[in-house]
């Protein structure tokens, strides 16, 4: 991109995405930074457009980040994660079963496990690699039932995890996978009735979304200003607070990439993004 306007790509996984970025656009404009955003219906379309040069920065899921990073590497380019939410750090996922039926992961052998969307890092890929590392190969030792709500949105939509939890309670599956925060939410909502289920396993910690840029664009003046303004956003500012609540953060933090190691293990084990990376890098 050559203009002074920072163009951001984001995936429209929920109508609130428009509210959030319209609000942030006003904030940037008030600080003399021209900013605009382009919405995509799925992360693959966004990554493809990013590689093509249609945007300066993408608000990427962890899987989209790895797609971008690997395509860039194939093309002799590089990708950087310049910022992330405080709430994107150190997530875990849990594997939940009905109380009294499954004591440990080994008890799941030969049974069916409910997961979220096929491209959900938190509700599918990371829990499944956790199982595999525990000796239960998905498809061979355990049957996997996917709840593909809004495929292409990398599990951003909560629906797949909620459906998996409901399938567990209904007795349709032996276990269900979800992010730790959603386990708390589903328990409080009553989707997982108190005492009826328990956590069989918890994955190691991993990171979630980030703002990604290609090559050395992060050093460009407009992107340095973008990052500076982003990191300076205060939850105490009443004009920003509702937007930060909608986006689910208290503060923006500098990006880090070591938190994606677990997801890398998953996509290497399952070949999740190989075809897409090859296709886009080969154009």
């Amino acid at each position: 991109m050559t203009t002074d306007t920072v163009i951001l790509g984001a995936v429209a996984y929920d109508p609130k995405v428009v509210t959030i970025w319209e609000g942030f656009r006003e904030f940037f404009a008030a600080h003399d930074l021209a900013f605009d955003f382009v919405l995509y219906s799925n992360y693959e379309r966004q990554v493809e457009a990013h590689v093509r040069g249609d945007m300066d920065v993408a608000w990427n899921s962890p899987l989209a980040w790895l797609q971008l990073e690997r395509i860039a590497k194939r093309l002799g380019r590089s990708a950087q994660a310049i910022a992330m939410r405080d709430s994107d750090r150190d997530l875990t996922s849990v594997i939940v079963a009905r109380t009294g039926e499954v004591a440990s992961l080994a008890d799941l052998r030969g049974k069916t496990i409910a997961v979220g969307a096929g491209d959900s890092p938190q509700a599918t890929l990371i829990p499944l690699v956790h199982l595999q590392q525990a000796g239960l190969v998905p498809g061979r030792d355990v049957e996997v039932r996917r709840f593909d709500v809004l495929l292409g949105k990398h599990g951003d939509h909560i629906g797949g995890e909620r459906d998996a939890a409901r399938a567990l309670v209904a007795g349709e599956v032996a276990a269900a996978c979800m992010i730790d925060g959603n386990h708390l939410l589903f328990a409080r909502e009553g989707v997982l009735p108190s005492g009826s289920t328990h956590i069989v396993a918890q994955t190691a910690a991993y990171d979630h979304c980030n703002f990604s840029v290609l090559d050395d664009l992060g050093a460009a003046p407009k992107m340095k200003r973008f990052t500076e303004l982003l990191l300076g956003m205060s939850y105490a500012d009443p004009t920003l607070r509702p937007l930060m609540d909608l986006e689910g953060l208290r503060a923006w933090l500098p990006g880090r990439t070591e938190g994606y190691a677990l997801l890398e293990q998953a996509i290497d084990a399952f070949g999740t993004i190989d075809g897409f990376v090859t296709e886009i890098a080969g154009r």
Binding site: D86, D90, G181, S194, T239, A251
Partner: protein
């Protein structure tokens, strides 16, 4: 001057209580009650098997640090959760006796908050057209509201509906006509304040409440007048173009003070005379009761209108000229209309007469003429109370609509 202190460390024992079963309430409460700030620690211990899993998720969502411990987890209080209350302000005070209870201008950012609530600074602004205290407030409002709620009556039980119709059929026809006219006028008396109620800033809670009860009063009046009209007859009486034109001019008045002046002080004030006139000449117990109960309610409406306008005029004397102009404007607008429905005038005469005997009609006619004078005297008295000199009050009263309301 700022002082630094060692980070505080507080312990919380949850026992079997999980964070999915209400434990988060105690986390927030303990942080607040112990006055923990960024960097302070809260050691949470408990027996719930999922305590640490849920603790991690809760801390992340709240912007706190999380460390798992053998029997729970430790929260390191983050910098941002307390920021939620930055900029919050009190929307006045609930207690009217306090000098800070009422704002001169209620802030749009207070929105629908209770007066006296601590309002989040991020609350979206809600625009209420009537947000100036001077435009809406009356110190008598709380007392009038208390009176109004205490004086609510049940149309089903307060009226002796089982009354007998042993009066002249012509008088009953007249009652039906007058009740038809009253329903039309009470509908205007409901709709005019209703339009302003929706524009009233909730900060002026007592005014909102009083207007709401006033609407309920009018709703009841519409009900009992309709029911009385149909007590011995199937069909209602007539509605005239002139009467409706007069009421339309009330509905069209966009200014709250002017509309309430025309409606409450002049219109409902005149209606007080009319209702007591009907009460005096009522041919049956049901008519006596509906007119008496309605008159008691209307007296409160008039008292509120007067109290509000007295205060407003005291603070903004320029309002006086606008009130005068409003009376002239309405008079000019209605100059070419017939005013009172002729059927209504005739009906009032017949009701006061009690029969169609010529001598009785003469007495009835004289009584209605006296009623019109009584209405005029009432209007002058109220105008003088608002500060209009006697001669001007007489002139303004003269210009009031012939439709009474």
């Amino acid at each position: 001057m700022t002082t630094t202190r060692e980070p505080a460390q507080v312990a919380l024992e949850l026992g079997p209580l999980g964070l999915d079963g209400g434990g988060t309430v105690l986390l927030s409460h303990t942080i607040r009650r112990a006055g923990l700030v960024a960097g302070d620690r809260l050691d949470v211990r408990g027996l719930a098997p999922e305590l640490a899993v849920h603790g991690r998720a809760w801390c992340r969502a709240k912007g706190h640090g999380f460390t798992a411990t053998p029997d729970g987890f430790t929260i390191t209080v983050g910098r941002h959760d307390a920021d939620r209350s930055v900029g919050a302000e009190r929307a006045g005070h609930a207690d009217l006796r306090r000098p800070d209870a009422l704002a001169e201008v209620a802030s749009p950012r207070w929105g629908l908050a209770a007066r006296g609530a601590l309002v989040d600074a991020a609350t979206p602004a809600v625009r209420f057209g009537l947000d100036r205290r001077v435009d809406v407030w009356a110190d008598e409002a709380p007392a009038l509201y208390a009176q109004a709620t205490a004086a609510q009556w049940d149309p089903a039980t307060a009226i002796p509906w089982a009354t007998a119709c042993d009066h002249d059929p012509a008088v009953e026809d007249a009652i039906v006509q007058v009740m038809t006219y009253l329903v039309e006028n009470e509908t205007a008396a409901l709709l005019v304040p209703a339009r302003f109620l929706a524009q009233m800033h909730p900060h002026f809670r007592e005014i909102l409440q009083l207007l709401a009860v006033q609407l309920a009063d009018e709703a009841r009046h519409i009900e009992v007048f309709t029911r009385r009209a149909r007590l011995f007859r199937d069909e209602l009486g007539s509605s005239s173009a002139g009467g409706q034109a007069s009421l339309q001019s009330l509905l069209d008045e966009p200014d709250y003070a002017l509309a309430m002046f025309l409606l409450s002080v002049l219109g409902e004030g005149s209606f007080l005379s009319l209702l007591w006139f009907l009460h005096e000449h009522a041919p049956d117990a049901a008519t006596k009761a509906v007119t008496r109960l309605a008159a008691q309610d209307e007296a409160r409406h008039v008292a509120f209108g007067l109290a509000h306008l007295e205060r407003h005029l005291g603070l903004e004397p320029a309002l006086r000229e606008r009130l005068v102009a409003a009376v002239h404007r309405r008079h000019d607008a209605l100059a070419d209309t017939a005013g009172l429905n002729a059927d209504v005038f005739d009906a009032l005469v017949v009701i006061a007469a009690g029969s169609l005997e010529p001598l009785a009609i003469a007495r009835g006619f004289a009584a209605v003429t006296e009623l019109v004078h009584d209405m005029d005297r009432g209007r002058r008295r109220r105008l003088q109370r608002l500060g209009f000199p006697e001669a001007e009050a007489a002139a303004l009263s003269e210009l009031h609509t012939r439709n009474f309301m």
